[in-house]
């Protein structure tokens, strides 16, 4: 880690609490129990400037999606999902929660991915459903049909799109991995389930012919994207694995954990053989976010305003 820059506040302890855009923004979440004090943290890599983003209420995930009209910032929360411009200066679209929470449950949205073939943005929900949104052009977002799982499941933890499988892949808090067939204008169909793949999935990413699922207790599961057969299990960290990000074009998977370590793994596209490219202690803190950008990687830690690069 060669340098560090300063965010306006400390990052909250959330999974994958750092997102980066293709044009040089990174964003993180600062939640707060005090009304009006939760906010997004924005940093422009080129200028080195940091600023507060919009207020958030119990945000659950943050992600930049690379749509055909440019990157957008998607923030999910207990309020629903907000889609902002890249610098979070304007709200583009809002997807509300579909129903109210009960006395012993919380409703929220979590995770988002982009389906380039249909130009859909897909949002995960606490009901275990996914919600496609048509994002054909800026200012023309249209809420589509909430899609139900084929069997009872737990809250969505993360989503990705797998080009090889031509499907959206979701992972759920009960360890399920589910495949969803994409539809232009009908609910997505949950076509396959791998039950109890792991304990508490944190991230799912597409790695060409493979899928990689990062599990909270510290492991990464590599599956064949077509058959969903388990190919490898990597014990990546000695403590909780808190974030993962990938470069699908070169088969790279970067993970950070509460053991203070950043690991760069390479997964062979054909056989799924795993090698370790780089491993380093970033800082003596609970790492909770990692993002890749042109000049390298950025890492954030809980309760720290420093963005390590």
């Amino acid at each position: 880690m060669a340098a560090a820059s300063q965010l306006t506040s400390g990052a909250s302890l959330l999974h994958n609490n750092l997102a980066s855009s293709s044009t040089g923004y990174v964003a993180s979440i600062h939640n707060s129990l005090n009304a009006g004090q939760g906010k997004l943290l924005l940093h422009a890599l080129a200028s080195g400037q940091s600023k507060d983003g919009p207020e958030v209420v119990q945000a659950t995930s943050i992600r930049y999606l690379e749509t055909l009209h440019g990157p957008v910032l998607v923030v999910t929360s207990t309020n629903g999902t907000q889609v902002y411009t890249e610098d979070a200066s304007a709200l583009i679209f809002f997807l509300p929660l579909s129903d109210q929470a009960g006395p012993d449950s919380i409703r929220y949205h979590q995770a988002a991915c982009f389906v380039p073939t249909t130009q859909h943005m897909v949002i995960g929900t606490s009901k275990g459903t996914i919600w496609p949104v048509s994002a054909v052009a800026a200012g023309q977002y249209v809420q589509l049909h909430e899609s139900a799982p084929s069997s009872p499941t737990a809250e969505v933890s993360d989503l990705c799109f797998s080009p090889i499988a031509d499907a959206v892949v979701s992972v759920h808090n009960n360890g399920d991995l589910r495949l969803w067939q994409v539809s232009e204008d009908a609910p997505y169909t949950n076509s396959d389930v791998v039950a109890n793949l792991c304990q508490a999935p944190v991230r799912v990413v597409s790695l060409g012919a493979q899928l990689a699922v990062a599990d909270g207790p510290g492991s990464i599961f590599i599956l064949d994207a077509t058959t969903r057969e388990l190919k490898a299990e990597v014990t990546a960290h000695g403590r909780w694995l808190s974030a993962a990000v990938s470069r699908e074009d070169i088969g790279l998977l970067v993970t950070v954990g509460e053991d203070t370590v950043l690991n760069v793994w390479q997964v062979d596209p054909s056989e799924g053989i795993v090698s370790l490219h780089h491993s380093t202690v970033v800082a003596d803190k609970l790492l909770c976010g990692v993002a890749l950008h042109g000049s390298g990687a950025s890492v954030v830690a809980y309760d720290s305003a420093r963005d390590q690069r």
Binding site: L33, S105, I273, D303
Partner: protein
């Protein structure tokens, strides 16, 4: 099963309450208060904290309280015996509680938070003894913890931990004990280790297992930067949540390990990481740091120099003590603590306190509207 984020309050109150009792117990012991009298004080606090109706409400699914509201709860708890703390000393006590809990939260896995909670309960049972049915009250809470969290999924426990982390976020009060241990840095942030003991069933970081047809066919170990710094699981419960203010640093009875080294107390479990510093100077520094940190509280809990506006050394429970308090307090036998009064020479005052600690509890303050848990504490 209630979402993990709606079951944060029991963990928060039990763990922070445990820290509070540890601190109070240490001061009572340091001032050589007779054990029977000290027990009475601790019993009163613990009995209020584990008042059945309060516990029943605590374990209902609800959103986490704010820092300010939680402070009010502990204000009431701290004043449930004959002790009174002014704003400044209560603030310091609360800071110590928060930082102790924050370190525990950051040092453990989501599932181990429940172990920390159980460690606090076990230690409280030992400290408070069995006077006035306190033990049974604590035991009831142990049962509630088992029922509420025993079957909770790992993701829910993680959500709960994230919510608690938001609660203690930005709290960076420097604590001498932690600074001397090396677990806290000069900016108030805790230093997380890159080593420790693995969770049950976990393999060495860097291990890659290959599968075919659902069966493991090959295994290798890649060299991560700290792969060799992690010890295999021992099956022992974490010792975090035990009484760090206890000079002997005795862990809970369920832990089979020897008293932990300072560094290991900040990590998950297991033996300390190399290299270990020379024990004697550190032990002296630790004790001195802990005593130094708590002397402020001690001087406030004790009588201190007489102030015509608060109390008189020769008659700490006299009528004149409460002239500023107005109606309702005259004649109430309560130790009034004034943070502005000079402290330090409190031993003589405490000697007279010893004989007068068995006094009726003061009348409860009026309940605040909307504060359900606070209302229930008034009825304890």
């Amino acid at each position: 099963m209630a979402a993990g984020a709606l079951m944060t309050m029991p963990v928060l109150i039990v763990n922070m309450g445990g820290e509070m009792v540890y601190i109070l117990a240490q001061r009572l012991q340091a001032q050589q208060i007779p054990s029977s009298k000290g027990q009475k004080v601790l019993c009163d606090v613990v009995r209020t904290m584990y008042y059945p109706r309060f516990i029943e409400e605590l374990f209902k699914p609800q959103e986490i309280y704010s820092l300010q509201s939680t402070r009010q709860i502990f204000d009431r708890l701290a004043h449930s015996s004959i002790m009174r703390l002014n704003e400044s000393s209560m603030g310091k006590l609360f800071d110590l509680m928060i930082m102790g809990f924050k370190l525990q939260l950051m040092s453990v896995s989501p599932r181990e938070i429940i172990d920390v909670t159980n460690n606090h309960l076990e230690e409280l049972r030992r400290l408070a003894g069995d006077g006035e049915g306190v033990s049974s009250l604590v035991e009831e809470c142990v049962t509630q913890v088992r029922q509420a969290y025993g079957q909770m999924g790992l993701a829910d426990l993680c959500n709960m931990r994230h919510c608690l982390a938001t609660f203690v976020q930005d709290c960076k009060v420097k604590v001498s004990l932690f600074l001397h241990e090396g677990t806290q840095k000069s900016d108030g942030a805790f230093a997380m280790p890159s080593f420790g003991t693995l969770q049950e069933g976990a393999l060495q970081p860097g291990t890659v297992r290959y599968f075919s047809g659902g069966q493991e066919v090959r295994r290798e170990v890649l060299s991560t930067v700290t792969g060799n710094s992690w010890l295999p699981a021992t099956g022992q419960r974490t010792t975090l949540g035990s009484n760090i203010y206890d000079k002997e640093r005795r862990p809970p009875s369920s832990s089979a390990s020897a008293p932990s080294e300072v560094q290991a107390s900040a990590t998950n479990t297991g033996p300390p990481a190399p290299p270990a510093p020379p024990p004697s100077p550190i032990e002296v520094a630790k004790t001195a740091a802990a005593v130094g940190e708590l002397n402020m509280l001690a001087s406030l809990i004790g009588g201190g120099h007489a102030s015509t506006e608060t109390f008189k050394l020769e008659n700490l429970f006299g009528h004149d003590m409460f002239t500023k308090e107005g109606p309702g307090t005259s004649g109430a036998q309560v130790i009034q603590i004034d943070g502005a009064a000079a402290g330090g020479e409190h031993r003589g005052a405490l000697d007279s306190i010893r004989d007068e600690l068995e006094v009726p509890a003061p009348p409860p303050p009026p309940p605040e509207e909307g504060d359900d848990l606070l209302d229930l504490m008034d009825n304890a």
